[in-house]
């Protein structure tokens, strides 16, 4: 579904991605783990066209997307929940969700998705008229994911959904991620600091170090891998 071929990207003067090649298949959950600053977020930003690609190629369903502006990429069905959630602070929950439908016209579909979201996160339904900025961290994360669902993505990129969340909320969020994957056949690309959790839900995983992919395998195998255990699982 998504293919990265020898992608290189720079953040200012620093090379953030060095010859990255990845492969995401339809319907799976894959995860990218690695230390802070390894280039995980940059990978997502490069896919979405926010960080320009210097060389290499990104293909989505066979189509080259690396020269496209972000809005065109979104229109193809790729959506990202960025790190830090980026809720519109002065818009209400409903308005935030509404922003997710920017590129959509199907009224019925939107209604249907909205209902789906409110069954997933009843908390959001309760707070539908509250400004986004006043939600708690966990609620904001729910809202960010919901907003992304409203774009009806076929590929959903999630950047550090557990960051700064209480353990109990983190578990809830990960359950939901699995559910979204199952319910809608949404392909999920998960970038996570908490390698343990991520590898547990993921079909496959990539390990990244200093802008280079150092390892790739199924989630289970990576969990069992000695190097991964030492470096990322803290065992």
């Amino acid at each position: 579904m998504l293919k990265l071929k020898n992608v290189q990207a720079f953040y200012g003067n620093i090379q953030a991605l060095k010859n990255i090649s990845m492969d995401v298949k339809e319907g799976e959950i894959i995860t990218l783990i690695g230390a802070n600053g390894a280039g995980k977020s940059t990978t997502l930003m490069t896919i979405c066209g926010i960080v320009p690609i210097r060389s290499g190629e990104i293909l989505f369903e066979g189509q080259t997307i690396n020269k496209m502006p972000p809005n065109k990429i979104v229109a193809l069905g790729i959506n990202q929940v960025p790190e830090g959630r980026h809720i519109f602070p002065y818009l209400t929950v409903m308005e935030n969700l509404d922003m997710g439908t920017f590129l959509r016209n199907d009224k019925d579909g939107i209604k249907q998705d909205l209902d789906y979201i409110f069954t997933l996160f009843p908390r959001l339904a309760e707070r539908r008229n509250q400004a986004g900025g006043t939600l708690s961290g966990g609620e904001q994360q729910m809202l960010a994911i919901s907003r992304a669902i409203m774009t009806r993505p076929r590929l959903l990129l999630l950047d550090e959904p557990s960051l700064g969340l209480a353990p109990i909320i983190t578990h809830q969020i990960f359950d939901i991620i699995k559910k979204i994957n199952k319910d809608n056949k949404t392909t999920i690309f998960l970038v996570e600091q908490n390698a343990n959790l991520a590898l547990n839900v993921a079909d496959r995983g990539y390990v990244m170090e200093n802008g280079v992919i150092t390892m790739t395998d199924t989630g289970k195998n990576l969990l069992a891998n000695e190097d991964v255990k030492k470096a990322y699982l803290g065992i």
Binding site: S136, G137, L165, P167, I169
Partner: protein, 265 residues
Amino acid sequence: MKPILEVKSMTMDFGGLRAIDSVDLSIDKGQIVALIGPNGAGKTTFFNCITGIYTPTAGDIYISSNGAADGKNERINGLKPNVVTRKGLARTFQNIRLFTSMTVLENVMIGCHAITKAGIMGAIFRGASTKSEEKLIVEKSYLILEKIGLSKYVDELAVNLPYGAQRRLEIARALATDPFLLLLDEPAAGMNPQETMELDELILKIRNSEGISILLIEHDMKLVMSLSEKIYVVDYGKKIAEGTPEEIRHNPVVIKAYLGEEVAS
């Protein structure tokens, strides 16, 4: 012995919203205390009240810098942040707040601001006392960096440091103010297990070698459980539990509100 920090029924309102609801807390000299709770429970607000960024709506905050039984209690509600720092409370921030246009060394040198005093005239004429003070600042900052293990980055711009190192630099900077109590706001956030382990050691080292007490907010339960001697749990601005790590781990209220079954088990 007196507690070095004693918070008595502190309350903080924002408009109609009660962020902290009559919370008590106390820290003894040399103790490592953790403050945990779900997001939005009011933990950072609690820090902000203590360090003077907000003035609590009600309640009292007392400090007693040496912790001796006959030591003087000082009320610090409503003091400006810089004054609080001068009294010996230093902090780090949840979302790293380093001085981005400065080098690592300079960042720590700013930490020395509170303990030096050269003024405008001193700066212009640069007399003997100013000169020696400057020399002292550089030296002290360097030594702190060495201790924290950042001496190889001295001349780097702070923003160019790896993430974990930036977190440690914040601690180094806070240490430069000569605190007796260090408040750490999610020091392990964004760190990988390796870095977290090193942090664990660092915090213990600071406490053991300097006798600096530590109050920390953290989500990483492993770190919290291994480090702290006492844990406070807050939810919706209220204190819901207090006790040793063992007590907290098995407290049903805490499990329901915060930890979840998995972690507790």
